[in-house]
Each structure stands twice: as structure tokens, then as C-alpha cells.
């Protein structure tokens, strides 16, 4: 099945931002916007729900903290008890200050790496994946808005988009993915 899509290209992020607002006011469905750099406020203008990545990061951090605690307790206290800074108390709690840097580092390590992996998975990105980017100019100096043209009067939409400041408009059939 294929869908009719309209690709509208813009050359300025401010123009794009106001265009996004106008298109949404007209109740056309914006499928995706491709930009060469992050445009501040774009996701709010597009009405995309807030990311839940931060909650994940917090949970991953707690996992890292637990891993570090369990690991250091096993290595330094249980498996081969070690004399830490002349304080051989063989107690995790009493030797805790020595482990804090490790606990901190692993918290950051887990939060950062798992967050990146989550982000890739959520964005459906993996090595050797074919780029979804419809127009290479969006990696340079153009902004592309992809609008679902299904059931709309193409003539009218095209005219409306030119009015919002689009410099180029293409109507394409897109394979559903």
C-alpha cells in the first residue's frame, strides 16, 4: 500500500516553525519534519508528546548503582576481603567512601550507554540501515516537512504551503514502512 505524501521544503528554521503551526491549525497531518540541526521548540509546535527517555535514564542509573554496589561488595568484601586504606573492617558500609567513585561512575556509565541504546532502538536506527531521509539537502541547509495528503485537495494544499513560505513542493507516493 502506498500513501500520497507532500514534501514541502523550507530554507529557514523560523519560517519552518511558523509553517508547522499554520499547517497544524489547518488540521493537516504532519508525518515528519527533517532538519539539518535541532530546531528549538519544534517538537512542541508539532504536538509531539514529551520524551520518556529521562525516566529511563533515572532507572538505568539506579541499575548501575545496584550493579556497582553488588560488584564491589563481592570483589572487595566477600570473595577476597581486602584491607582498604588500613581499615580492614570487612564491612561494605564502613568502607563505603572508597567505593563511592565506582558507584558514581557506574551509575553514569549505565545511564549514558543504556540511554543511547534505548534512543537508537526507539528511533529505529541500527548499523547499515538505509536512511529514511527523503532529500539529501535536509542534511545541509534545507528543512523538509512531510504532510499526509490523503483525502485532501492537492491543489489547495500546495497553494497553502507556498503561502507559508515553502520554496519547493513535491507530491510523492511513498511506500509504507
Amino acid at each position: 500500500m502506498s500513501t500520497k505524501m507532500i514534501h514541502a521544503l523550507y530554507t529557514d528554521d523560523d519560517v519552518l516553525l511558523s509553517a508547522v503551526k499554520q499547517v497544524r491549525d489547518k488540521h493537516y497531518h504532519i508525518e515528519e519534519v527533517f532538519t539539518p540541526f535541532p530546531v528549538h521548540g519544534l517538537e512542541k509546535a508539532m504536538g509531539i508528546a514529551d520524551t520518556r527517555l529521562a525516566i529511563n535514564a533515572f532507572l538505568y542509573g539506579i541499575v548501575g548503582l545496584c550493579v556497582a554496589t553488588a560488584m564491589m561488595n563481592y570483589i572487595m568484601i566477600e570473595d577476597w576481603p581486602q584491607d582498604i586504606g588500613g581499615k580492614p573492617s570487612f564491612s561494605y558500609l564502613e568502607n563505603m567512601p572508597a567505593f563511592v567513585p565506582i558507584m558514581f561512575e557506574l551509575t553514569v556509565f549505565f545511564a549514558a550507554h543504556l540511554m543511547v541504546i534505548t534512543f537508537y532502538m526507539r528511533s529505529r536506527l541500527w548499523p547499515f540501515k538505509k536512511a529514511e531521509n527523503p532529500d539529501v539537502r535536509t542534511t545541509d541547509d534545507h528543512f523538509l516537512m512531510e504532510i499526509d495528503a490523503h483525502g485532501a485537495d492537492e491543489e489547495e494544499v500546495t497553494k497553502f504551503l507556498y503561502d507559508t513560505g515553502a520554496v519547493e513542493i513535491k507530491l510523492i507516493d511513498k511506500e509504507a514502512h
Binding site: A54, F58, G85, G86, K87, P97, A98, V100, P101
Partner: protein, 467 residues
């Protein structure tokens, strides 16, 4: 223009009166002589029966801490095992004397801590203002009058601090052990080789001179920056000469401040333990003052907003302040831990005594205040949305204020009163008194000028600030 309501004025005055009364009770309840202390111990022992022996031993350890530089600490220490035989009499006298000195120090220390704490909030707020000016921040000009208001407290606060230091220097109290008579005189019973080696720097006249110079310097900046801000309001459109002048003065102040603040923290706090030193102590005290200052800015802003003032301040401004509270709380913890961990790990006797005292005699306070200053702001303010909810910011803010008061408390008290600490009349009283004075003075200053600095070139950006 903000007008101080009579309700707020009465509240501040009640705080001051109650605080002064409590503090007075604290001074009155100090035993008048060593005999009175002996009586206290006796009645205590009678109440606790056999507990006296162990307790006396505990006190012995603490007294040794308080007088660690007095030379006879070593002799005192060897006497310890002989507590029950012939030496008991002599030891006991000495013990009573130590306890007497600790109890005498307690109300003075309580006043000193509260006085320093509120002075530090004013100074922290002033530094935050200077940073905003130097970085030409666009979000904050709407809050300048609040920062100037809080910063204005360093005038009365600085004068009171100087009087307290002067009283210590004139031997009205003995909270600074390095000021004892004969501490640098070879052969004197108070002689202490380490302190004697430091007298080139650590002597009362130079120490007072430094304090005076710093307080005058900081007040000079605070007086100027306020004046420049008000002059800028009256300037013609497009004339930002006063603004530029403020920028230059702020940049110079920050350089002056970071050097003098470091020295001030050695002079006013670290010298309570004159044998001990930490190279990041200045930073550590700075982090404490900075986060308390920013928190107070947030609390006062939210208060004024709830009364219908500061109509252009939106939740993005509060969000930014909360981000600073969150970030600097973690920065404080980083410094606290950096100082603690290295000393704990290396375990060098002359360094580690500082933390041994605190962990043994102030365990709950010492670790409790780390939890309050780190965990609470971390968990309450971590979520981005919570930083915009006044209720959350105020809760975290109150924890931070109490936590950093306790932080100063455990910096000062172990050296001056040792195990005889308690949070009772003088501590609560002094806190309330200075809180009252602080509230009274800062709102008086805030009410003296329009809340919107209409001449500031970044005002437009601040009004439209949106995260």
C-alpha cells in the same frame, strides 16, 4: 513598588524578640562556676548511677579534643586508664574545667553560627547577582531587585559579624583557641608549637584587619551595584553607561570576592581547628553560601509572586532558579565528599581527627546534613516538571536552608563545645533572631525601589523568557 505589610514586620519582630529571649536564656543557663558544673555532674551521676564512670571517660575524650593544642592534652591522655586510682581527683578537676569551658562557649558559638549563616546567605545572593551581571544573562534582570534586597543584608550582617569577631579578639569569649594567652610563648602552659608557627598570619590584629577590609570591600560593591542599577533606571533611552559600569564593577568584585571569600573561610571558620587545614575549604564554604543564597532568592521570589508582585516572573524563571539549586547542591556534595574521602582514606592522624570528632560526637548531624543537602534536593528537584511547581521548590528550599545551617553547625561546634553540643535555647534562639533581622532588613530594602529594573538593557528578554 512593594510595600512591607505590617503582618510581615510583626512576624519579623516577633522572631527577633523570641530569638533574643531564647538566646538570653542560653547565656543565663551557662553554669556560673566550675563548682556549678561539678554539681551538675554529681546530680547527673546520681540519676544515672554507675553510668558516671563511662560518661566521664567520654567527656575526657571530648575535652581533650577541645584542648588538643594546649600541650597538656598528652599528659591528660596517659592519665586516662588511671581514672579510678590516685589520679582520679586531678583528672576530674581538669575534666570539670574543660566541660565548664565548653558550656561557656556554647551560647557564643550558637550566636556566631546563626550570624555567619545569614550573613553568608546575603553574600551568596550578592555573588549570584554579580555573576548575572558579568555573564550578561538575559533571563534574570527581573529578579535583580530581589537579589539586591537579599544582598543588602551584608551591611547589618557584616557589622554584627565584625562585632562578634572583635569580642572574640578582646577575649570576651574563648571560642577561638588560637587566641589563648601565651599560646606562642615557649614554656607557657598554653604553648603550642604548631599555632606558634602560624602567628605571623594568625594573630588577632591582622585577623581583624582582614575581616574589616573584606566586609568593607563587599559592602562597597553592593552599595555601588545598587546605585548603578537605580541610576540606569533613570537614564535616557539607549544610554547604558551605568549598565556598563555595573558590568565592570561586578567583574572586579568577583575576582576580589573569590580570593577574600577563601581567606574569610580560613579566618572565620577553619581557624576554629587551628591544627587542621583543608585546601578546598574556601570552595566548600563558597558552595554552601552560593546554594543558600540562590535558594533564598527562589523563596523570596515565590513569596513576592504569591503576593501579586513580580507579575512578569513566570515559571521558567523559577525553573532556572531551581536548576541552580539542584546543580549547586550536587556541587556542594562533590566538594564535601572530595574533602572527606581523601582525608578518610589517607587516615593521617593530624588530618583525620577533624572527621573522627564529627563522626563520633556529631554522627547524626554530620551524616544527616549530608542527606538533607544532597538526597532531598536531588530527589525532589530531579524531575524537570517539578522545578516549575512552587510547592516543590519551597520544600526543597527549606531543606537546603536547614541543611546548610547544620553544615555550618558541624563546621564550628565540634571545635568550640565538643560533646557538650545540643540544639536548644541558644541555637534555636540565635537562628530565630537572625532570621527575623534578615527578613526585616531584606524586605525593607526590596520595598525601597521599584521591583522592575526598567532601565536594564536585557529587561525585554527577561520578560519574554521562556524555557
Amino acid at each position: 513598588m512593594y510595600k512591607v505589610t505590617s503582618k510581615l514586620k510583626i512576624f519579623a519582630i516577633v522572631l527577633m524578640v523570641v530569638g533574643a529571649l531564647f538566646t538570653a536564656v542560653g547565656f543565663w543557663s551557662v553554669p556560673s562556676s566550675q563548682a556549678a558544673v561539678q554539681q551538675m555532674i554529681d546530680s547527673d551521676a546520681a540519676a544515672h548511677g554507675g553510668a558516671h564512670e563511662t560518661e566521664s571517660k567520654d567527656h575526657g575524650g571530648a575535652a581533650e579534643e577541645a584542648h588538643q593544642q594546649s600541650g597538656h592534652a598528652a599528659a591528660h591522655n596517659t592519665d586516662e586508664p588511671a581514672i579510678d586510682d590516685a589520679h582520679a581527683g586531678g583528672h576530674n578537676d581538669e575534666h570539670v574545667e574543660h566541660l565548664y569551658h565548653q558550656l561557656q562557649n556554647r551560647p557564643w558559638s550558637a550566636v556566631y553560627i546563626a550570624s555567619f549563616f545569614f550573613f553568608m546567605i546575603g553574600l551568596g545572593s550578592l555573588v549570584f547577582l554579580a555573576l548575572q551581571k558579568v555573564s550578561q544573562a538575559g533571563w534574570s534582570p527581573l529578579l535583580f531587585r530581589v537579589m539586591e534586597g537579599i544582598g543588602s543584608y551584608i551591611l547589618p550582617g557584616g557589622i554584627i559579624m565584625f562585632i562578634l569577631l572583635l569580642l572574640s579578639g578582646l577575649h570576651f569569649n574563648h571560642i577561638f583557641v588560637w587566641m589563648e594567652e601565651g599560646v606562642d610563648v615557649l614554656g607557657n602552659e598554653n604553648y603550642d608549637a604548631i599555632i606558634a608557627g602560624k602567628t605571623g598570619y594568625l594573630n588577632v590584629p591582622f585577623w581583624l584587619f582582614r575581616a574589616g577590609a573584606f566586609i568593607v570591600g563587599w559592602n562597597l560593591y553592593r552599595w555601588n551595584i545598587r546605585r548603578f542599577g537605580l541610576k540606569q533606571d533613570e537614564a535616557k533611552d539607549g544610554d547604558i553607561a551605568w549598565y556598563k559600569k555595573g558590568f565592570k564593577h561586578s567583574a572586579m568584585f568577583l575576582v576580589f570576592f573569590i580570593v577574600t571569600e577563601s581567606i574569610m573561610s580560613w579566618d572565620w571558620i577553619m581557624s576554629f581547628d587551628p591544627h587542621w587545614f583543608s585546601t578546598l575549604f574556601g570552595w566548600y564554604v563558597f558552595a554552601s553560601m552560593f546554594v543558600s543564597g540562590i535558594t533564598t532568592i527562589a523563596l523570596v521570589t515565590i513569596f513576592l509572586k504569591s503576593k501579586g508582585y513580580l507579575e512578569f516572573v513566570n515559571d521558567s524563571h523559577i525553573h532556572d532558579l531551581a536548576k541552580f539549586m539542584f546543580g549547586i547542591s550536587i556541587f556542594w556534595t562533590y566538594l564535601w565528599f572530595s574533602q572527606f574521602m581523601l582525608i578518610w582514606y589517607s587516615n593521617i592522624p593530624e588530618e583525620v581527627t577533624y572527621f573522627v570528632t564529627r563522626i563520633q560526637d556529631y554522627n547524626i548531624l554530620f551524616f544527616g546534613m549530608v542527606a538533607i543537602n544532597f538526597l532531598f534536593p536531588l530527589l525532589i528537584l530531579m524531575n524537570s516538571d517539578f522545578k516549575r511547581v512552587n510547592w516543590f521548590v519551597v520544600t526543597a528550599g527549606l531543606f537546603i536552608i536547614v541543611g546548610h545551617y547544620l553544615d555550618i553547625f558541624v563546621m564550628v561546634m565540634p571545635a568550640t563545645v565538643g560533646v557538650s553540643w545540643f540544639i536548644g535555647f541558644p541555637e534555636i534562639g540565635a537562628f530565630l533572631f537572625f532570621a527575623g533581622l534578615f527578613i526585616f532588613y531584606i524586605f525593607r530594602t526590596i520595598s525601597k525601589a521599584p521591583l522592575i529594573p526598567k532601565g536594564d538593557p536585557f529587561l525585554g528578554e527577561s520578560k519574554h523568557f521562556h524555557y
